[in-house]
Structures are given as C-alpha cells and as structure tokens.
C-alpha cells in the first residue's frame, strides 16, 4: 500500500467522519481513520502503527497470506476471515499466531507480544480499510503516467477540428499553462466538464425592470440570482422572463459525442500546455 492510495482513503474517511460525527480529523494527518459503514465505529490507527504492523505482517505472515493480507502462497485471504472479523480485542488472532493451526498447515509463529499487537492493529485497520471503499475515487495525486495513454497530436487535431474547442479556448490564452493549474486527474475530468463555472442570468420582472447577476438556482418554481451588490434575489419563475448565458452548453453537447480515444488524446494534448 503506497502513500498515494492512502491519501485517497484518508480524505474519504475524513468525509465520512464529518457526516457521522460532525468533527474533523484533518488536524492530525498522522491519524488514519477507516469508517466501514454508516453507523459502524471507525477504526483509528496512527500512520506509524499501521506501517509498523504492515511491515511486521509482511515479514512474518506475508509469504503465505500475501503482503496485504489478501491471500498469498497457500494461505487464505485474512481480510474475509471469520477469525479476524469476529476477533475480540486481539485475543483470537493472538491465539492463532501463538498456537498455529496444525490441522490447516499453519505453524506457530514465534513473535513477541509487541510484534503480535502490531500485527493485530494492522489487520483490524486493514479489514476496515477494505470494507470502506464505497464511492472510491482516484486521489488528487493519481499518477499522470496512468492517465497519459493518448496521442497529443491527435488530441490537438480534435481540439482544432471536430471538438471545436478552439472556438472558445486558446492554448496560448485561457488554457496557457493549464496543465500546471490542476492535478492530472482533475484536468482529465475538467476538460470534459468543468465544475464551478459561473452562469449569468438577466431577469426581467413583470414591470419590465431588469436584474443581472450570477444564477444561483432556477427551477419550475423559482429563479434566484446574486446581483453585483452580493445580495440574492428570487422571483416565482412564472412571473419573470429569464435569459441565461450557458457557458457549458458546448461541453454538454460534446459529452454525448466523446469516445475514450477522444478523451485520452485531448488529455495528452492539454498536458503539453505547461
């Protein structure tokens, strides 16, 4: 398990913790917290304890059970083991390590109580870590090399050709240095559909008075804008005329046209805009 994937898990766990307990643990980046499900207690462990237990596990158990406890050379996957999952405060795991399971070919593993405690801590964290991956997304430092499978020249041709990107964007203008402004994984998503783009609206009320500002919300019932003075104003949708400038309309059109190759080629091209 690399640091990279860890970061993803920490961010995710912190998000869950926030919603569950309304408290943040980002103040302590050394504390790993794995929350396996809504209402199931989170498992907390320091990064050092996790790494120590992981290393001990690799040395003493990894040959048979795999370096991450997911099964290996003849030994079962321990993440889904009933002994691990039903263990009470380490007692059951300790017993298996100290006495072995001769009937199943597992020898006694000679370890000190401290070493055993490290392994117990790692295994419990590992179970919670694997259980809580629902909604997993690549982390912000997802490796560029993994994403860079397209052809930049073809991407450039798409940009200037069928994608019609050049009608709004310029590699020497708004997109200059774009590759340095976002982590690669974000750049890939943003090139298809950028988030946080302001939409403007002009509202004309029944008396003909016009209000212009940032569109906050518009639905069948109400329209809300934020005017230049920072205030929000709303009207019943049926009483006003609303004109919006949709800066993302072209992006939405393209969404129904992209192939995987288009996406990866465009990405490869944008990465050259350093």
């Amino acid at each position: 398990m690399s640091r990279r994937l860890f970061c993803a898990t920490i961010v995710l766990a912190a998000g869950v913790a926030l919603s569950l307990r309304a408290q943040q643990d980002s103040a302590n980046p050394n504390l790993l917290r794995f929350c396996p499900g809504l209402g199931i207690p989170c498992v907390e462990i320091t990064r050092q304890a996790y790494d120590r237990g992981h290393e001990q596990f690799r040395q003493s158990c990894g040959f048979c059970h795999g370096p991450t406890a997911a099964g290996g050379n003849g030994g079962p996957n321990l993440i889904f083991s009933a002994v691990i999952r039903r263990d009470n405060q380490g007692a059951d795991i300790t017993k298996v390590i100290q006495e072995g399971r001769p009937d199943k070919g597992m020898p006694v593993i000679p370890l000190t109580p401290t070493q055993i405690a490290d392994i117990v801590g790692y295994l419990k964290a590992r179970v919670a870590e694997v259980d809580k991956t629902s909604g997993l997304r690549p982390s912000r430092d997802y490796d560029l090399k993994k994403l860079l499978t397209g052809n930049a020249e073809l991407g450039k041709a798409y940009f200037n050709g069928p994608g019609q990107c050049a009608t709004c964007h310029s590699p020497t203008g708004d997109l200059k240095g774009i590759a340095t402004r976002y982590p690669p994984i974000e750049l890939q998503a943003r090139l298809m559909y950028p988030t946080g783009v302001r939409q403007d609206a002009t509202v004309t009320d029944a008396a003909g008075k016009q209000f212009t500002g940032e569109l906050v919300q518009q639905d069948a019932f109400d329209v809300t804008i934020r005017t230049a003075d920072g205030m929000q104003r709303s009207w019943p949708s049926r009483t006003v005329k609303v004109e919006t400038t949709d800066r993302l309309a072209k992006h939405r059109e393209l969404l129904s046209k992209y192939t995987n190759a288009d996406v990866h080629n465009l990405f490869a091209y944008l990465v050259t805009l350093q």
Binding site: R4, I79, S134, R137, L148, Y193, D219, A220, S256, N260
Partner: protein
C-alpha cells in the same frame, strides 16, 4: 364488568391486523404492505384528492422522529401508521399523528436505511442493521421474538421491509461493503426459523457457475436482495431483483455474465426454486444493479390479455415480460447510454467491452434509476419512474502494492454531469410519454386514481397530473422527500403520507 369485557373482546376481534385477504386487495382504508399490495404498483385507488382539488391540499399532521432520514414507506392498518428508521419503529394514530408506541434497539452494523416494516395479524416484522429479524406485538411494540439472519461482521444488514407471503416472511439481504454473496431467505412467520434460502451466486458446478472464471472470484459474490420483491398468488411465484457483482468496477477479474447478479428472478414461494431469470445488466461494471421494484400488470399486449411484469432497471433498460414464463416481450433503453451494443435473444442488453473501467479512465454515459419505488397507474396505463441521466469517467484501481483487486469496489468513478428526471413510460412499449427534469433525486413515487403522481421536484413536494406531468400542487416542506409517499382513507378523509428527512407529514383536503 362482563359487558365491558365483552365489548373489549369485540373490539379486539374487529382489530386483527393484516390478513391474507387484505394483502390481496387494492389498498384503500389500509396500506398493509410496502407497495400497498402484492403487485408492486404503488398505486392508490382513492380519488377524494384529485386533479380538481389538489391545489387546496393542507398539512393534516406531522410526526417528528428526531432521527435520520426516513427511507421507508409507512404502513397503515386499522387506523394506525407504522414506520421505521434504522434502530427505531413507531406506531402512531393515522388520524392525528400522535405516538402510540416507540420501539428502539441499539445495534451494530450498517445504518444506511430501513425501508419499512411488514405486518401480519397483530405482529410487526422488520430487519435490523445487524441483520436480525424482529417480531413486535403491534398493540404495544413489545418484542415477541428476534433471530439472527446473517453475520453483520461480514457486512450484511437488512434494510428491505420483509414481504409476507402465505405463512412466510421473505427477507431480502443488504450488504454493499463487502465481498459476500447475496441471498433471499424465507422465514417462518411464527418464530422466524429458516424455511428456504435462495443464493444469488451459484456454487461451483451449479447452473450459472459457468458464467464466472473461477470459484475464488465467484465467492466474492454480490447479488444482494435489498429491495422488496413482489408476489403473484395465482402463479405462486415471487419476483426479486439482485445486486451487482463484486468487485464492482473490476470486470477484468470476473469475465463472463456473472449470474445471478443484476438479475430479475422468479422463485417458487414454497420451495425457493428459481423458475426463470433475466439478467438486466450482464457482466455489470458500473453498479447497475437490478434492485428495483418489478411491477405486475394484468393487461393487454399486442391485442391479447397477458400476465405481465414490467421493470425499469438501473441498467437504463425497460423490460416487459410474460411473468409466468419469463418470455421477453420488450427490452428498450429509457434514456441515453453508451454501454450496451443492443439486446440478445433472451432480451438482455449486451455490454460493450470498451466502457469497462480502465486505469486511464473509461468514459461512460448512462440513464439509471435506483430503489426509488416506481408506480403504475391502471387508469393512465403509464409506468412512472424517477431516473437520472449522466456522464462519468470510471477507473480500475488495483492495490498498488500487489497489483491485485483486493477490495469490493476495485475502482471508482467521477461523475461529470447528471440530471434527475421523472419519466412516464407506456407500459406496452417502454416509450416515454412525458417527462420532467429536476424531479426525484432520491425518493419513490405514488400514483392515485385521483389522476395524480406525488413526488419531489427541486426541493418541493409536488402533485403532478398523472396524464400530462403538469404541476397541480407544490410546497417547500423544508427537506427532501426521502422515502415513498403512500395514501389511505380514515374516517372518510383521504391522507397522503410523505417522509421528509426525519419528519413524517400527512396531507389532506381541508375539513
């Protein structure tokens, strides 16, 4: 004293709770089961509240649970409403909203949702976050018995309301957090003891096992049964959808169709034996499960009466089948998608390999739905479903140290853009008759003989004209509709109940 005792006995004889006959009727004064009746139509034949007067609908009462969002459909039997959130069940007077009793029990396990309770005679039945099944005395909320159905430490929990069928409770199983196989159990109504079990994932050598590469990956399972199924008493069959296979995004480690995940199955209610199946998303790699309510319709198809089953699945396809035989009549997409290359001879979508999640990201377009109970109106012949159309990019993410897919997800996705909507489909063709955008987003639907559809739109609770989709009534209730609306008549007055976050609201016409 004798006279008083006699009166009390008469009263208790009159109030016997749910019986089989009640479950076979259209729901009017009672709403005795999750979908109102066995058809899954989630339709009320009441018409006191209708297109001409719904604009005057008023709040009749509200019930504050002080708990998490209620994702349940309430029951109403003999003037009492029964509803739940994880760890809690309430009974309240369905006329006033006053609490009659409250049962609570702290439990371990996943508290994602309780989708409601079941009732038979004077017992209330429900599942728990730690995968236990509990029976309460409906008169006072006292526990009668409790049994364990599965071990929560392996990620199992029960969110679906049990389905009462004959002398059994059909108990669906939830559990998305883990690589464990899904199943459906029939339990004895009297004591909760197991009667039969249907496993969604075959054992090596069994039919369906040939659609998995090996026993090891097959054991990682999926195929949970977390949305209540439906029942046809004449055919003696119960119909359930199953969840997606695991690891969710890593199709590369489980080549094949992966039966019986993402499938709609017809089971004999006496034995649990499967009579037929259709897979709504073969070899699924985008969490397009079949955990949607199938709807039983006795209607015309191509000029002759048929016993039909209709389902708008999460795969974005609408299915119409002969429910006796499983014969496929219609399979059509109900919205934009890029993952399927057409339909096979069994009426199943054919997945395209190039949308499977990859390390560098695979572009995906889909139209989808979820547990959001659909509704069918026999009056309009329309099948109403809350849906969502969107685009995402999905990644295959093996463990970096071992290169293996070790967790149950195997990857993840970034949503690029999506839009929720309500679709009214012609049940014979699956074609969209009308639609609204901004509607739904996490709730079930109710249609009524008053010509109405109740749902959520842009934070408003709305009543729509069932024929056209026009808004006839709306109110901002200060929260989202989180469960499914239902309706009942009490004392000559029609009520509509709507779970809004942790509060249950009852709506009625002015007295």
């Amino acid at each position: 004293m004798k006279l008083l005792l006699g009166l009390a006995m008469t009263a208790s004889l009159l109030q016997q709770g749910v019986d089989t006959g009640m479950l076979l009727q259209r729901p009017t004064t009672n709403w005795p089961t999750f979908n109102g009746d066995y058809t899954g139509q989630h339709f009320s034949p009441l018409k006191q509240i209708n297109t001409t007067n719904v604009a005057t609908l008023k709040l009749a009462w509200s019930f504050q649970t002080h708990q998490a969002a209620m994702k349940a459909t309430p029951l109403v039997v003999d003037g009492v409403a029964y509803f739940s959130v994880p760890d809690h069940v309430w009974a309240a007077d369905a006329r006033t909203g006053r609490q009659i009793w409250h049962f609570s029990r702290t439990s371990s396990g996943d508290h994602l949702a309780s989708r409601g309770v079941a009732m038979f005679k004077d017992r209330i039945y429900f599942g728990t976050p730690d995968a236990h099944l509990i029976a309460l005395d409906a008169r006072n909320g006292k526990k009668v018995w409790e049994v364990e159905v599965a071990d929560w430490k392996f990620g199992y929990y029960i969110s679906a309301a049990p389905l009462v069928v004959k002398d059994k409770l059909l108990v669906g199983m939830s559990g998305d957090q883990l690589n464990m196989p899904g199943f459906l159990e029939a339990r004895d109504l009297n004591d909760g003891k197991p009667v039969w079990r249907w496993d969604a994932i075959p054992k090596p050598g069994e039919p369906g096992s040939e659609t998995w590469p090996n026993a090891e990956i097959m054991a990682r399972g999926g195929g949970m049964t977390w949305v209540q199924g439906v029942y046809d008493p004449a055919l003696n069959l119960t119909y359930w959808g199953t969840g997606n296979p695991h690891p969710v995004y890593a199709g590369n480690v489980r080549r094949g169709a992966n039966l019986f995940t993402c499938s709609l199955v017809a089971l004999d209610v006496d034995t649990g034996k499967m009579k037929w199946y259709i897979q709504t998303s073969p070899h699924d790699t985008h969490d397009r499960d079949a955990n949607q309510t199938p709807i039983l319709i006795d209607g015309d198809y191509q000029g002759r009466p048929r016993k039909l089953l209709a389902m708008a699945s999460r795969s974005g396809y609408y299915f119409l089948l002969d429910r006796a035989t499983g014969e496929s009549l219609v399979t059509v997409p109900y919205g934009g998608q890029n993952w399927s290359a057409g339909v096979d001879e069994r009426g199943q979508p054919i997945p395209k390999p190039d949308v499977e999640p990859t390390v560098d990201g695979a572009f995906f377009e889909g139209t989808t739905t979820n547990w959001w109970t659909p509704s069918f109106s026999p009056d309009t012949s329309l099948f109403y479903v809350n849906a969502s159309h969107g685009f995402s990019i999905a990644y295959l993410m093996p463990n970096e140290e071992t290169g293996k897919v070790e967790d149950h997800q195997g990857g993840g996705a970034t949503s690029l853009w999506s839009e929720s909507m309500l679709l009214a489909l012609d049940y014979r063709t699956g074609k969209v008759r009308w639609s609204r955008t901004g509607t739904g987003g996490g709730n079930g639907l109710l249609s009524t003989a008053g010509g109405l559809v109740f749902t959520n739109e842009s934070g408003h609770l709305v009543a729509l004209d069932a024929a056209s989709g026009k808004v006839l009534w709306h109110v901002n209730p200060g929260g989202s509709l989180t469960g499914s609306p239902m309706s009942y008549e009490l004392g000559g007055r029609q009520f509509v109940l709507t779970p809004i976050d942790g509060v249950l609201y009852a709506w009625a016409l002015p007295e």
